[in-house]
Symmetry: D2
Subunit: 341 residues, 4 copies
Amino acid sequence: MSKFLKEPTIPIEIIGSETVAALLRKMGRTGFQGRSLSSAAEVWKEMLKEGSFVFMGLAGAMVPAGMRRLVALLIERRYIDCLVSTGANLFHDIHESLGFHHYLGSPEVDDVELRKERVDRIYDVFASDVEFLKTDRYINSFTRTLSFSRPYSTREYFFLLGQHLAQDAKEDGIVATAAKAGIPIYCPAVGDSSVAIAISGFPETRSFVFDVSKDVYELAQMVISAQATGVVYVGGGTPKNFIQQAEVTPVVMGKSVPGHRYAVQIIVDAPHWGGLSGCPFEEAKSWGKIAADATKVTVYADATIALPILVTGLVQMMGKTERRGPAIRLDISGKDLEIGQ
Amino acid sequence: MSKFLKEPTIPIEIIGSETVAALLRKMGRTGFQGRSLSSAAEVWKEMLKEGSFVFMGLAGAMVPAGMRRLVALLIERRYIDCLVSTGANLFHDIHESLGFHHYLGSPEVDDVELRKERVDRIYDVFASDVEFLKTDRYINSFTRTLSFSRPYSTREYFFLLGQHLAQDAKEDGIVATAAKAGIPIYCPAVGDSSVAIAISGFPETRSFVFDVSKDVYELAQMVISAQATGVVYVGGGTPKNFIQQAEVTPVVMGKSVPGHRYAVQIIVDAPHWGGLSGCPFEEAKSWGKIAADATKVTVYADATIALPILVTGLVQMMGKTERRGPAIRLDISGKDLEIGQ
Amino acid sequence: MSKFLKEPTIPIEIIGSETVAALLRKMGRTGFQGRSLSSAAEVWKEMLKEGSFVFMGLAGAMVPAGMRRLVALLIERRYIDCLVSTGANLFHDIHESLGFHHYLGSPEVDDVELRKERVDRIYDVFASDVEFLKTDRYINSFTRTLSFSRPYSTREYFFLLGQHLAQDAKEDGIVATAAKAGIPIYCPAVGDSSVAIAISGFPETRSFVFDVSKDVYELAQMVISAQATGVVYVGGGTPKNFIQQAEVTPVVMGKSVPGHRYAVQIIVDAPHWGGLSGCPFEEAKSWGKIAADATKVTVYADATIALPILVTGLVQMMGKTERRGPAIRLDISGKDLEIGQ
Amino acid sequence: MSKFLKEPTIPIEIIGSETVAALLRKMGRTGFQGRSLSSAAEVWKEMLKEGSFVFMGLAGAMVPAGMRRLVALLIERRYIDCLVSTGANLFHDIHESLGFHHYLGSPEVDDVELRKERVDRIYDVFASDVEFLKTDRYINSFTRTLSFSRPYSTREYFFLLGQHLAQDAKEDGIVATAAKAGIPIYCPAVGDSSVAIAISGFPETRSFVFDVSKDVYELAQMVISAQATGVVYVGGGTPKNFIQQAEVTPVVMGKSVPGHRYAVQIIVDAPHWGGLSGCPFEEAKSWGKIAADATKVTVYADATIALPILVTGLVQMMGKTERRGPAIRLDISGKDLEIGQ
């Protein structure tokens, strides 16, 4: 028999009492994306066991789709060390923290009628435009407490907002939990979100300034300091690119970095469109963004399916095992990010 | 609040001891395809409870990807009443029944080198070309036991092949289990498969004839006789279209049929390419293939992720509950299909 | 500079009087699928110039989407030598040949209302269910002229139907043009189409039998006889698989064949779902279906965009150049396919 | 006949001397995405004729794929009035303006070998990592000419950079042409790009600050002032979302705006993933981002195919016709955007 024919696939046997982890393990002996999803749990587990510093990129409307408590759990359990998110997910998280909701809806509906009722649609999820305005005002009101004479990194901004929110939140989500846990949140496209609308839309806060270049600098410092990094991308967009480019900035600075050592991505974009969202980790190796010998897996799936299964499976697999902490510790509370050992 | 804002989504809380069914239930209060997958379990459960006659369409390389025992379970538990499959899935099922294997492989490999080693690749699954030839010969040898003076429906052919195989099988899969359980298998594109190659490739069997039009007639009879039908499509292709068109043939015959009453599909094709594989159930309503008031859900996902979760969840949800049998009983053992009450 | 950095891309300059061929040539110096589409024209041109025998696979609702005269042109100009199609495309072609139409529609419509008006929807195309029944009857009436005491290959059936239709057609399309030109049409999943419905739906024709295994045999004979073969796949499905497997049947017969020498495909399926429709030509090399050194290109695009551009560009590029004929000539008019030099 | 069956599709007839515009017109009577692409030309033409203010969103690696001169043409001919782009496209445009190149490559290559040669891959396009560093330095050197005591909107930054570049450019592209033409460029995720790396990577420029909230304010002012707006989205990402949200900021400001009046998008993302990139214009109506009665079309296609055809067709259709200018004129040269009539 050929050297390529060593390990038979094993048809899935369902016994009827499977935990999610048990099913995931069986899927590891099948093919296609089922096997990829199983591998994703293994790779994530390995990056935790090996003590790498884990970045998560979070794109797509994950919070309206019910993923905020799941991401909060990842932060609490320290399954991630740094979160990079779209502004929308952070805005929607704040919205739900304040006690507002997203609602079960349907894509088969008359959108003009929704408009008349001030209902915003995100595929099969609805939300109240009027309630969104309240969250706009909350964010605006928080922003007024900041200094207008100096710019803020998005990390500093969301840390302070998280502390503020923790006092008001009906239920902690991503932003409040991260502030409590000392996990930094970056939002590279903050201007492209309701957070920026909530700031620019009111004359009182119009002179508030984000320093997005500072974010770039801070991520580069983390990558330089950490001995090994891992990445988990939920969707593509700016969060994925921002974490990928964190391996490039050090090079411009004249520092040598090895590329991310562990890599998991859950995406629906295909490589053949040429965009960064669908970019496979192989391509990223040519840039040095991913290490030549990285342990990596791409799962082609909607994150609202893959993420609950993956995280539930991971939690079940890790059990009470403490992860081995990364080589660096962050103090995110100040104007400048402090990186310790 | 608007009438559109009644049911809040509920962010998933992971407790760490979830069964698959428990997680699926939580996903039912989220959004996007996670919710769709949860709904799929509900719709399938309902079609079983309501005693509808359930057709499954099986496309894509599901057997190489480890799904044969899962489909066999659906047949054994009578969660489906009739299977329509590509020829490839049936061929690969016979292959594994005979004790041959598919193997864990990788898409990142040199295919010319595989060719040299007679290894066939199906994305990340490998198989032995030499072993496939043995299965070809097995099928050929079975076919020689049949009459060459009359054509066979694919239902009759695969029933007889299943009986034959049950004696030789190292592990029962789809074809053998279906023969034992009396569940008919149809293969509308049998010519487009290794089964037909195994027949046409040898002079001794070249005069053997399939009667694919008879298949069409038999499916129409089932639809006319059953009081309510449900469909579960894994992928698109000929299996989906064949089951869909079973609602059209009766119309040509001058009979009125209501369209499938329950409908679940797991697909990766999008509606906007205009093909039947990606066709949403709404579009099918215009043709009368799906009932105007059908209970239906489309899950956009790779079946190797969705199917194990869906079926495990369904088994856990059904528990020891017997499904309510459909209004009709089939005798699939003869030249003509017999439909009883 | 690296050996990988030899040929710069050239940004497209639009001058305003471009023919399609001129634009396609410019796209050949860009990236992504624009370049692939340009390459597809080059590869197709080369397979014609080199005298290979060209198979076309035609899947998807190409005729409702206005592609029948374009495919007829390919047949007339002999840009293809053998057509393998879904039954639906052939049925819809016959439908339009008889003077019926498909209609400009929209996907944003109430399908239940369409149903009430007996209007069938194919994404953004509408058709009359009542008119379809007339085409059903036409096909049925033709079938009655055939012998019921022996089976027909789909090649023989569609040749005879094409001759019959040529007398009645208001405008020649695929089926009538192919019969006139002596180009064979195969329909491996004929059972999965309205053609089979039109036969099975009426008692008078219920004993008519297609011999789909004979189709398999005939295609194998072509591949064995032709010195070099080329393939053009529009979509995946059974047409693509059927032409691919024509390189496998000879192996079962004990004959050595080299794999298709030239290969173009226009698809929307991605490789990572593991299905045959999205299977890249690299994977096909492991099976020997595509030659190890084949000239090949995959275009990821909707065929209703890619095909008109590709074929118009090809016609403009070929100009009055006669293609070099393939090494074999077919006589498709008899019960058995005759292959000459 | 039903009211739904009024306009037959017309099968495409190829005559062999078609211009791109002529072919596009024929595609307007077909189905699926071919028809959508034809409609896109019509909608864009209409938005120009009606004097609306046209925003273009540009995502995906369009410049490496050869689209910079095409976008420059759109700016020169004033087929767009405001460009919102990813930072990558602007960086790559500057790179080529300086005389560097992207190169024809292939996705079937060993990326680790590319890495060794300092070659970066973008699907089938290659670039020199060493040359990229030179462009980094050029951008850095320009940035040093700016004030570090106040933040810059990305509009102001790219205008000044464009002026600077126009003096050095070997061939004008997007950034230089826009500066000359007085067309504003916004880059909402500038931090997520090599532009920000080129700033943060060097200590001398680390205190330079972008004011992305100011961008939000400026776009809102345009939308409020323009009587009617049109949008053309190439891909999704931040450019699309940023232009969409420009209809939301005014609402927060207490101003009523009608939603974009004309809308074209070329995307590959599907609606069912729930992300903004694949969001259909119908969904956008619920938010008021798109007018309830907007003229709109979505083309599902790779932009490297769709854009050259669309723009060539548009240029051919417009001929020497001057577009009717929008109701507003912009002065983009100062710290604050000036909007005149």
